[in-house]
Each structure stands twice: as structure tokens, then as C-alpha cells.
């Protein structure tokens, strides 16, 4: 079975502060991890994937297989980062079914 856990339902930070959205996963095979974002009144969209090792909008995420974590980080939060963030997992063994966490609502205060 594959499972994604996002322990924080809500996260509030001030503009310019660092932000970390936590994600832990459970998967017996070789996982591929992603972060999706949903801005207010917009569709859910892919933010970044671990395999690309990219930084998108200043966000990065490192896959830690030892801790089975894939936390999303940004050193200086901006107001426009306020959104719902979902961590997601897939893999060969699941025929690439994408499983999402329950999401974390990030609010960046001015």
C-alpha cells in the first residue's frame, strides 16, 4: 500500500520567513514524489517533482529515503505563495497511480 502523510493541515508564516511543508510517505517500491499546488480559484497543478531536482518559484524538495520524507522548503516566503499544497507519490509497482496527501494550507501574512 502507498500512503502520503502531511502532518500539518494549516501553516501560517510571515512574508520573508522560511517555510517548510512536511511530507512523509510509505511505499514498498521505489517511489517518485511530487508537490502539487492549488492557488485560490485555480486548478490543481504540478509544482515540482523530486526526480528533476529543480527549484520552482524558489521552492525545493529533497527526497530522503532514510526518513521517507519529501519536505517542501522555501527560504523566504512571499504572499503569493499562499495556497493549498499537496504531496503526492507514485511508482512502478502501483502502475503509476498517484496518491495524494491531505494537503497543507499555507498562509503567508504581510
Amino acid at each position: 500500500a502507498q500512503r502520503v502523510t502531511q502532518p500539518e493541515k494549516l501553516l501560517s508564516v510571515f512574508k520573508g520567513a522560511p517555510v517548510e511543508l512536511k511530507c512523509n510517505y510509505s511505499y514498498s517500491g521505489s517511489p517518485e514524489l511530487f508537490w502539487y499546488v492549488q492557488y485560490s480559484r485555480q486548478r490543481l497543478q504540478l509544482l515540482l517533482r523530486h526526480i528533476s531536482r529543480e527549484s520552482i518559484k524558489g521552492f525545493t524538495a529533497d527526497l530522503n529515503k532514510g526518513e521517507t520524507s519529501f519536505h517542501l522548503k522555501k527560504p523566504f516566503a512571499q504572499e503569493e505563495d499562499s495556497a493549498m499544497y499537496y504531496c503526492a507519490l507514485t511508482g512502478v509497482g502501483s502502475n503509476y497511480k498517484l496518491t495524494f496527501g491531505k494537503g497543507t494550507l499555507l498562509t503567508v501574512n504581510p
Binding site: Q6, Y36, R43, L44, I51, Y86, N95
Partner: protein, 116 residues
């Protein structure tokens, strides 16, 4: 349009009635997913179609829920004898064959179902 299209965008129905939700994926996308998002909850997987493979129905919550897909095109999600706990936003997403392995799903705007 080029995106995933869902209809209706809003549906209000009475308890016990059947409802049908429709999803038009992006042309050429082999994979199609249905998710449910209840108020204050995350995305709950319902069903996954991938090409000609048997669909993964492991997320359907009860036998009142069913989904069909014609080839690699339109999909319909049917909920029979609706209950109040079925009230949610039903999201459809599609992905190309490459996108499936890279995790890039394209989501529709969802169908908001309210069961009175």
C-alpha cells in the same frame, strides 16, 4: 479548449437520486483519474484508467459508485442513490503516457456535488 473539461460544474440533487459526472480529458492522454475532495479534506483517489488496461477501482467507496471510459476519451462517474456524505468536489485529471511516469497530471476544475 486544450484543458481537461468537467461537467456539470455544479450539481445540487436530492438524497436518493442518481447523478452522472462527465470528464473530457486532454486529447491523446491515455491515463484518466477521478478523485474526490470533501470539504476540509485532501484528495481521495477513486478510480484510475490507463489505456486498455483494466481500471484500478480500488478507491471507489461503495458499489453505488461506478465509472466508465470509452477508449481514451470521455469518462463518466455515476453515483447511484446519492447520500449526503457524497457531497464533495469530484476532480478529474488526465495524463499522457510519458506524463504518467513523470507524475504530471492535468486537472479539471471539478464538479461540485451537493446532496440535500
Amino acid at each position: 479548449g486544450a484543458g481537461v473539461s468537467q461537467s456539470p460544474s455544479n450539481k445540487v440533487t436530492e438524497k436518493g437520486k442518481d447523478v452522472e459526472l462527465r470528464c473530457d480529458p486532454i486529447s491523446g492522454h491515455t491515463a484518466l483519474y477521478w478523485y474526490r475532495q470533501r470539504l476540509g479534506q485532501g484528495l481521495e483517489f477513486l478510480i484510475y484508467f490507463q489505456g486498455n488496461s483494466a481500471p484500478d477501482k480500488s478507491g471507489l467507496p461503495s458499489d453505488r459508485f461506478s465509472a466508465e471510459r470509452t477508449g481514451e476519451s470521455v469518462s463518466t462517474l455515476t453515483i447511484q442513490r446519492t447520500q449526503q456524505e457524497d457531497s464533495a468536489v469530484y476532480l478529474c485529471a488526465s495524463s499522457s503516457e510519458v506524463g504518467v511516469s513523470t507524475g504530471e497530471l492535468f486537472f479539471g476544475e471539478g464538479s461540485r456535488l451537493t446532496v440535500l
